[in-house]
């Protein structure tokens, strides 16, 4: 008589076996290796590292394989793993001016010191499906000319600093405060800039893209120019307390976007451009640009701009940009809610019964 509505351990483990089967696909095809994912899906790896907040291409590739290509799930796996890691130190700020440039462009100057370096980019490709990729063929390395065109050995100065030197650009000030750590202290509002940037860098690319886009369509316009986008490796170093001097512990590939935004009169009385900042691990240009747009729109209060649009509302943006949080809470609707639903059912029936008896009285 009792319909089996409650699942158990057996059902769960069976579901996991089925998932493993779906992940593996047709066993006549060779299994995808983690190394292949790492090497051949580097942009997926970059997104998972950025939003998963761990720089480890191999683990990110593993997460992508394990999640059967669901990147939000892969991000979640990496975050959950991050929780278990010890923190043994805080690195020095990375110096992106000293970046080993792989790509560097500016939309504000036709030519500039260091030049425009396109590097590996989808820009200017024609979005035509390349059927030659369906056939597994020999891959030919880039020509010497291509390699030479992208070789930029020396450090390249930053576009926004050129504007700063001319006093045309708001300066980024180091306030010498210890940055907030949002993984240790939950964000409080109003958030300081460090908390905001940390939150945005881990934030969902799609969400930030839509918000950034909305500012371009008039919801909190901030007149952006892509002042500079650069991609390349930067050194990571730490200063161990017992040594007292900096030692290099490795290098990470990052994408950085500095947006030049509409000018305004600043608190010091001068009229200057404003700016937005975006950064992420690996090659993640769309994310870095979206982040920079949103970083700028969230500075509305600093420039006495009227806060009227979603992208300008700090609490709205920061408390909804994390896809691990968002996906978790949306997916929890799949969990049983019998009790709450029962409570609503009971209440609705009672209200309807009361109303029916009232209207019955009126008819009499």
């Amino acid at each position: 008589m009792y319909v089996a509505v409650k699942g158990g351990e057996k059902a769960i483990s069976a579901a996991h076996e089925l998932l493993a089967k779906v992940r593996r696909g047709d066993t006549r095809e060779a299994e995808l290796s983690v190394k292949q994912v790492e090497q051949q899906l580097p942009l997926a790896v970059a997104r998972v590292m950025t939003e998963g907040a761990v720089y480890d291409p191999e683990l990110a590739a593993l997460a992508i394989k394990q999640s059967a290509g669901d990147l939000v799930e892969a991000i979640f796996l990496l975050r959950a793993y991050k929780t278990t890691l010890n923190r043994f130190g805080i690195c020095e700020p990375i110096n992106t001016e000293a970046m080993q440039i792989e790509r560097r462009i500016s939309a504000t100057y036709k030519d500039l010191p260091g030049g425009q370096v396109l590097g590996p980019t989808f820009d200017y490709t024609h979005r035509l499906l390349d059927f030659s990729l369906m056939a597994e063929g020999e891959f030919s390395d880039p020509s010497d000319e291509a390699e030479n065109l992208t070789a930029v050995p020396e450090s390249v100065s930053k576009v926004l600093e050129i504007l700063e030197r001319e006093k045309l650009m708001a300066s980024e000030m180091d306030h010498q405060h210890q940055p907030t750590d949002i993984t240790r202290d939950p964000i409080t509002y109003p958030a300081d800039r460090s908390a905001r940037l940390q939150s945005l860098v881990q934030g969902d690319e799609g969400f930030l893209l839509a918000l950034g886009y909305s500012t371009q369509r008039g919801y909190g316009r901030n007149h952006p120019f892509a002042g500079e986008i650069r991609i390349g490796e930067v050194e990571v170093s730490i200063v161990p307390e017992e040594l007292g001097f900096e030692i290099e512990i490795g290098a990470v590939q990052v994408t950085e976007c500095e947006m030049v935004n509409g000018f305004t009169r600043h608190r010091d009385g001068e009229v200057k451009f404003t700016r937005g900042y975006g950064v992420g691990f690996g090659q993640c240009e769309r994310k870095a640009m979206a982040m920079a747009l949103v970083d700028r729109s969230l500075q509305a209060a600093d420039y006495d701009e009227e806060v009227v649009s979603p992208a300008q509302q700090e609490e709205f943006v920061l408390s909804h940009c994390d896809n691990v949080e968002a996906a978790g809470f949306v997916s929890h609707l799949k969990l049983p809610h019998y009790v709450d639903f029962q409570s609503e059912l009971e209440l609705l029936r009672r209200i309807r019964a009361a109303e029916q008896s009232d209207s019955a009285k009126e008819t009499n």
């Binding site: 008589m1 009792y2 319909v3 509505v5 409650k6 699942g7 158990g8 351990e9 059902a11 769960i12 979640f76 975050r79 959950a80 991050k82 929780t83 278990t84 010890n86 993984t183 240790r184 202290d185 939950p186 409080t188 509002y189 109003p190 609490e315 408390s319 691990v324 949080e325 996906a327 978790g328 809470f329 949306v330 997916s331 929890h332 969990l335 049983p336 809610h337 019998y338 009790v339 709450d340 029962q342 409570s343 609503e344 059912l345 009971e346 209440l347 009672r350 209200i351 009361a354």
Partner: protein, 286 residues
């Protein structure tokens, strides 16, 4: 407990000791200020947000080797999420688990309080989705924190009054707001209001963890917990005309079960342990 049963490569109860200490400090503050939401450095857990990560972090912070753990969801020990969380802690602590309310020293719950009255020494850990009772009236955290600080709860009473004006009833059937220790308005998590009276002056310690929202709050044992109401519209709990189709209880919270495509339904206890024990006692009597 048997240390061999802990999954290799992980600390006891998953979280590292420093994180547990941080959570315990937040818990101590929460106990000292009943009903006040303490922000804490919530961690990512290997389960998704919304699936009980707050409750799990609290459980992980307070669980010890001699504890006996019970996990329920919708009152039942055999719902999938309860099974999964219980298995998680069994794997990562090796502690004893139980389905019997009276045997448990630590109970993690989603959406229910067990029917059997809790005892002194027991700890009830609630999974909380939205810790802020004022959230649906005021979306801004800046504003709601101010409202709590100033005890500015007028809007909540207005909301309840508007319900009465519109529906003739307070239209909140679960997550029904309570006033804790005469000071803080608190969200009891989405338990049915049927369970609200069980919170009042309970001998057990009640801890609440909201993982995604990164808040912890608590009700120490023997604390006044009053469901908000009006003199002419006193708080009342749900009642059913039916009894449990299995054990015949007329006192417990009942889940509705649809039996066929015509929508025929029966009612059964939501608290599976309570229902099972009543059945065992009935069999003994017979």
């Amino acid at each position: 407990m048997n240390p061999q049963t802990i999954r290799e490569g992980y600390n006891f109860a998953y979280l590292d000791e420093q994180t547990k200490r941080m959570i315990r400090r937040a818990l101590l503050k929460a106990v000292a200020i009943p009903g006040y939401q303490v922000p804490f450095g919530g961690r990512e857990m290997p389960m998704p947000y919304g699936w009980g990560t707050g409750g799990m972090q609290v459980t992980a912070a307070v669980i010890g080797q001699t504890d006996c753990l019970k996990v329920i969801d919708q009152g039942a020990d055999d719902t999938t999420n309860a099974v999964s969380i219980r298995a998680f802690f069994r794997d990562l602590t090796g502690v004893k688990t139980t389905e019997r309310t009276e045997e448990a020293t630590l109970i993690q719950t989603r959406h229910r309080i067990p029917e059997k009255p809790l005892q002194a020494g027991q700890v009830l850990v609630y999974q909380v989705p939205i810790p802020e009772p004022l959230r649906f009236i005021e979306p801004s955290e800046v504003e709601t924190r101010k409202m709590h600080a100033l005890e500015d709860y007028g809007v909540m009473h207005i909301k309840l009054y508007e319900d009465i004006a519109q529906f003739g009833h307070i239209a909140t059937a679960y997550a029904y707001p309570v006033l804790v220790n005469g000071r803080y308005v608190m969200d009891p998590s989405p338990i049915p209001k049927f369970d609200n009276p069980k919170m009042d002056n309970s001998p057990a310690l009640q801890l609440f963890g909201a993982g995604r929202e990164k808040r912890i709050y608590a009700i120490p044992p023997y604390t006044d917990v009053k469901s908000l109401d009006f003199e002419d519209h006193p708080f009342e709990v749900q009642k059913w005309e039916q009894c449990c189709a299995i054990c015949g209880s007329a006192e417990s919270f009942l889940d509705e079960v649809i039996m066929d495509d015509q929508g025929t339904h029966e009612f059964i206890c939501s608290d599976t342990d309570y229902c099972r024990e009543r059945m065992e006692n009935l069999e003994v009597t017979v």
